[in-house]
C-alpha cells in the first residue's frame, strides 16, 4: 500500500490598511530572505500596497474565503470602515495588526481635536495654503464630466474592534517582524492558537521585564525632565532619572527597541492583559512617585508633565475610556 503525501493547501492571506503609514506593511517586507518561505506558504489574495486586486475582487469572494487577514491602520473614514466589514465577512481569522488597528495608534492623536479643527488647520490655516474660496474636500463633488466621490471623514479615529469583531491583536508600531513570523508560522502549521480576542505576538509582562537598564525601588520623583534636559547615562531606568517612560505599562515583545535606542518607551505595544486603560494606569503610577505631600510643591512638579494626554495616551487614545476630546 502506498501513502502519498498530501500537499498542504496554501493559506489565503489578505493584508489591508486603514488610516496607516505603511510601516506595518514594511514590517511584513522586513521578513527579508524569509519572504520566499512566506510566499511558499501563503497566497496573498489582497494587498493594495503590493498586489493589484480591487475591492470588487473581495466583494466577489464567498464568505470566509480568506484564511487570515492582517488589518493594519485605524478607522478614520467610511472607506476604512467598509473594507474592514467586508474583510471581516470574508475572513476566517481577522487580526488587528499594529498599534493603529489595535488601539488607534498615532492617527488617534487626532481625537484630541475635532474634525472641524483638523480641516480648518489643514485646508485653511496652514501658512503655505492659499485657499481664498474656503474650499474643502467634499464626499460627493460634481464636475463637468460627472461626479467624484471621496470617503466620509469621521469625527474620531477608531480602533478596528470598534467597527468589527477582531479575533486577535498583534500589537506594535510596527509589530516586530520576528513576532509576526512566529504567529504566521503557528497559523501555517495549524498549531493551536490562543483564545479569541487575545493579544498574540507579544508578552504578558511589560517592557521593564526585558529592559536592561538598572532599576531600583527608588521610584521617587522631585522633578520631571524632558529627554534633552538630562545627561542620560544610558544605564539607569528613565523614570528614576525623572523622564516619563511608558515601559512599565507596555507589553514586551518589541525587544525594548526604543529604550535600546536611548529613547523612553511611548507604549506602542499596548497594555498587559486586564489593564482597561494603560494611560490611566501609568498616570496613577507616575503621580504616585511624586516625592511631595505639599499641595503647592505637587502642582509645581506636575507643571513639568507638559502633555499628559499626548504622553500617556500616545498610541491608545481611541481605545481608552475617554476616547476623544469632549
Amino acid at each position: 500500500m502506498t501513502t502519498e503525501k498530501k500537499e498542504k493547501p496554501k493559506l489565503k492571506m489578505a493584508v489591508y490598511w486603514g488610516a496607516a503609514c505603511g510601516g506595518c506593511c514594511v514590517s511584513i517586507l522586513d521578513v527579508h530572505e524569509k519572504l520566499f518561505d512566506v510566499v511558499a506558504a501563503a497566497d496573498l489574495v489582497f494587498w493594495p500596497i503590493g498586489l493589484d486586486f480591487k475591492y470588487k475582487d473581495i466583494e466577489d469572494m464567498p464568505d470566509g474565503h480568506i484564511d487570515l487577514t492582517l488589518f493594519n491602520g485605524a478607522i478614520r473614514n467610511s472607506e476604512n470602515k467598509y473594507i474592514a466589514m467586508l474583510l471581516r465577512q470574508k475572513s476566517k481569522i481577522m487580526v488587528a495588526y499594529g498599534s493603529c488597528a489595535h488601539m488607534g495608534g498615532i492617527p488617534g492623536l487626532a481625537n484630541f481635536s475635532t474634525k472641524e479643527e483638523l480641516f480648518d488647520r489643514v485646508y485653511f490655516e496652514t501658512e503655505s495654503t492659499v485657499n481664498p474660496d474656503k474650499i474643502l474636500p467634499e464626499p460627493n463633488y460634481k464636475i463637468p464630466e460627472g461626479k467624484l466621490e471621496l470617503p466620509y471623514f469621521y469625527n474620531d479615529v477608531l480602533p478596528l474592534n470598534k467597527v468589527v469583531c477582531v479575533d486577535y491583536y498583534l500589537p506594535g508600531c510596527p509589530p516586530q517582524t520576528e513576532r509576526l513570523l512566529e504567529v504566521f508560522m503557528a497559523i501555517v502549521n495549524g498549531s493551536e492558537l490562543p483564545s479569541k480576542k487575545s493579544v498574540i505576538g507579544a508578552y504578558d509582562k511589560t517592557q521593564c521585564d526585558e529592559c536592561e537598564r538598572k532599576k531600583t525601588d527608588n521610584k521617587k520623583i522631585k522633578k520631571f525632565f524632558r529627554p534633552w534636559e538630562i545627561e542620560d547615562d544610558g544605564e539607569t531606568c528613565f523614570i528614576e532619572q525623572g523622564v516619563i517612560c511608558m515601559g512599565p505599562a507596555t507589553r514586551g515583545g518589541c525587544g525594548v527597541r526604543c529604550i535600546k535606542g536611548n529613547a523612553p518607551c511611548r507604549g506602542c505595544y499596548g497594555p498587559p492583559p486586564d489593564s482597561p486603560d494603560p494611560g490611566a494606569k501609568m498616570m496613577s503610577a507616575i503621580a504616585t512617585m511624586i516625592d511631595s505631600n505639599e499641595d503647592v510643591e505637587i502642582d509645581k512638579i506636575i507643571e513639568d508633565v507638559v502633555d499628559p494626554a499626548g504622553t500617556f495616551y500616545r498610541f491608545s487614545a481611541p481605545d481608552s475610556i475617554i476616547r476623544r476630546k469632549l
Binding site: H32, P48, D52, L109, F112, R121, E127, R226, A263, D307
Partner: protein, 489 residues
C-alpha cells in the same frame, strides 16, 4: 460618458484612485487622481513637546520614516536654537544615506524593474519581482533582498528602531557608534557601491540596450515639461540631508535658490474639492491650472528633478554616471518621466559613496553626540528640510517658550508631485487609450507606469511592490449607470 475607475490604485503606499472620463466618442476627456485619505498631523502635533515630534511624524510614513525623522529633528534643533555637534550631523547623514540605499533598491528592483526587465505589456503574472528574478537570476534576487536588509540594519543600529526611528534628540543624537560597528558599516558601504554599479549595468543592458524601452522613455507619452526642484550644497551639487532649495525652469535656468526657512515665499498649496491631498505650486508664478510649460507654476521634486536642479553629483563615480545620463538623454533638463528610474540609480550610487565617505570619517565615532540646550535661548520657531526619496520635504514648527508645539506646517515629498502625477496620468491616458476601443490591460498598466515613475508615496502621500494588476474598467453612461464591466485577469 464613460468613466474608468481604478480603485484602489495598488502597489502604492496610502490610498489613491484614478478616474478616467471618456467622451461618448471614447476620447479621454479628463483624468482625476484622487487621494482619499487625510490624517491631519498638522493639527494633532499641536500641544506636544517639540522633541517628541521627530518620533510622532515618522508615523506619517512607514516607508520613508527616516526622512520625516530628519526633517523634524532639524526643525526641532532650530526651535531650540542649537546646532548639532559635527559627529551628530555625520551620524544623522550616515543613517540617512542608508535610508536612501534601502528605499532606492526597493523601488528599482521591486517596483520599477518589472516594467522594463519583464516588459510593460508582458504577462501580468510575470510582471513582478519574481518575474524579474526569473530573468536576472535567483542570486540577484537574493542579493537585492540582502542589500536592502543590510541598509535596514544600519538604520536599526543608528536609529534604534529600523522603521520608526528614535535617533534624533534636539542638539544631536541619542547614540554613538563603536569602532567595530563602524568597521562593519564600512564593509557594507563598499558592498553598496558595488551593487549600485551592478544595478546601473543592469539598467544599461536591459533598458538602454533595448530600443523599444529607450523609445518609450524618450518618445513615449511620458514627458512633462515642468520646473525641477531639488536640494543642493554650496557647490550646487545634489545633497539629501542639507543645503539650499534650488528650482530650475523647463529650459534649465535657475528660477530661484532659497534657504529652507524661506519656503513660504516660494511655495504655496492649493485645495481641490475632489482630493484630500493639497496641490503645491510655485508662488511667484502662481497657480495656472493643471498645465505644463514654462509659464505654469507646477513643478516636480523627484530624483530626476533633483539632478535637473543641480550642477552635478558630489561624489566621483556618481558624477560620471550623471554626465553619462544627460549625454544619452540629450542634455539638461530632462523631462522624460521614465528617466526618473535612471536618475534614481545615479542617486543610489551617490548614497552608497557618501555612505562610505561618512563611515570612514574619523569624527564618526566621536563621543560628543549632543549640544547642550539653554532654555533661555529657545527660539520658538524652526524649519527643517531634507530631500526625501520622493521629493523635497519640509517641516515647520512654532512653539511656546518651553518648546511646546503651537502650530505645525508640513509639505511632504510626494505632495509636491500631486499636480504632476495627475497630469502625467492624463497625458499617458490620452496618448494610450485609442478612440472608441476598450483599453487593454497592457495599456492600463502603461497608464499606471506614469505615476509609478514618481515612486509616489501617498501614505506620506505611494510606492509599489510586486504583483500583477487585474483592473476593473467600468464604462458608465451619462447618468452614471454602469453599462459594461471589463475585468482583466
Amino acid at each position: 460618458m464613460k468613466k474608468i475607475t481604478i480603485d484602489p490604485i495598488t502597489r502604492l503606499e496610502g490610498h489613491g484612485k484614478i478616474e478616467i472620463f471618456l467622451t461618448d466618442e471614447g476620447d479621454v476627456e479628463n483624468v482625476y487622481f484622487q487621494v482619499p485619505e487625510l490624517r491631519g498631523f498638522e493639527k494633532f502635533c499641536e500641544g506636544r513637546p517639540v522633541e517628541e515630534l521627530s518620533q510622532i511624524v515618522t508615523k506619517i510614513c512607514g516607508v520613508c520614516p527616516g526622512c520625516h525623522h530628519m526633517a523634524s529633528g532639524k526643525a526641532a534643533d532650530a526651535v531650540f536654537g542649537v546646532e548639532p555637534t559635527s559627529t551628530a550631523k555625520k551620524l544623522r547623514e550616515l543613517f540617512y544615506m542608508a535610508h536612501f540605499v534601502h528605499s532606492h533598491i526597493a523601488h528599482f528592483y521591486v517596483l520599477a524593474a518589472p516594467d522594463f526587465v519583464v516588459g510593460p505589456t508582458a504577462d501580468p503574472a510575470k510582471r513582478n519581482i519574481l518575474g524579474v528574478i526569473e530573468k536576472v537570476g535567483v542570486e540577484v534576487g537574493t542579493e537585492v533582498i540582502k542589500q536592502r536588509r543590510k541598509a535596514q540594519e544600519i538604520q536599526a543600529l543608528l536609529g534604534g528602531h529600523q522603521t520608526h526611528v528614535v535617533m534624533n534628540i534636539p542638539g544631536g543624537v541619542r547614540k554613538g557608534l563603536t569602532e567595530e560597528q563602524r568597521a562593519d558599516i564600512e564593509k557594507t558601504a563598499k558592498g553598496f557601491i558595488e551593487f549600485a554599479n551592478f544595478s546601473l549595468q543592469v539598467f544599461n543592458d536591459v533598458v538602454l540596450g533595448n530600443a523599444t524601452y529607450l523609445d518609450i522613455i524618450l518618445n513615449g507619452p511620458y514627458s512633462l515639461k515642468i520646473h525641477s526642484m531639488g536640494l543642493v550644497d554650496e557647490n550646487n551639487k545634489v545633497n539629501f540631508y542639507d543645503g539650499k532649495v534650488r528650482v530650475v525652469d523647463t529650459v534649465g535656468n535657475e528660477l530661484c535658490k532659497y534657504s529652507p526657512k524661506e519656503y513660504m515665499e516660494y511655495i504655496a498649496e492649493r485645495v481641490e474639492p475632489w482630493s484630500y491631498l493639497k496641490f503645491p505650486y510655485l508662488k511667484k508664478i502662481g497657480w495656472k491650472g493643471f498645465v505644463d510649460g514654462q509659464d505654469s507654476g507646477v513643478y516636480h521634486a523627484t530624483p530626476l528633478s533633483r539632478l535637473n536642479a543641480a550642477d552635478g553629483m558630489a561624489t566621483p563615480l556618481a558624477q560620471i554616471e550623471y554626465e553619462r545620463m544627460y549625454k544619452t538623454l540629450g542634455g539638461k533638463p530632462v523631462h522624460a518621466t521614465l528617466a526618473m528610474h535612471w536618475a534614481r540609480l545615479v542617486e543610489l550610487l551617490y548614497s552608497a559613496e557618501r555612505c562610505l565617505e561618512l563611515v570612514t570619517d574619523p569624527e564618526i565615532t566621536g563621543k560628543n553626540l549632543r549640544t547642550e540646550i539653554d532654555r533661555s535661548k529657545i527660539v520658538g520657531e524652526g524649519v527643517g528640510t531634507v530631500e526625501a526619496q520622493r521629493g523635497t520635504l519640509t517641516h515647520h514648527y512654532w512653539t511656546d517658550k518651553n518648546g511646546i508645539v503651537e502650530k505645525v506646517n508640513i509639505i511632504v515629498g510626494t505632495t509636491n508631485n500631486n499636480a504632476p502625477i495627475c497630469m502625467s496620468i492624463k497625458k499617458a491616458a490620452q496618448g494610450l487609450i485609442e478612440k472608441g476601443t476598450e483599453p487593454s490591460e497592457g495599456i492600463l498598466n502603461m497608464i499606471e507606469m506614469a505615476f509609478r515613475a514618481y515612486d509616489p508615496c501617498f501614505s506620506c502621500a505611494t510606492h509599489r511592490l510586486p504583483g500583477d494588476m487585474p483592473l476593473i474598467v467600468n464604462f458608465m453612461n451619462k447618468k452614471g449607470e454602469l453599462i459594461k464591466t471589463v475585468k482583466r485577469d
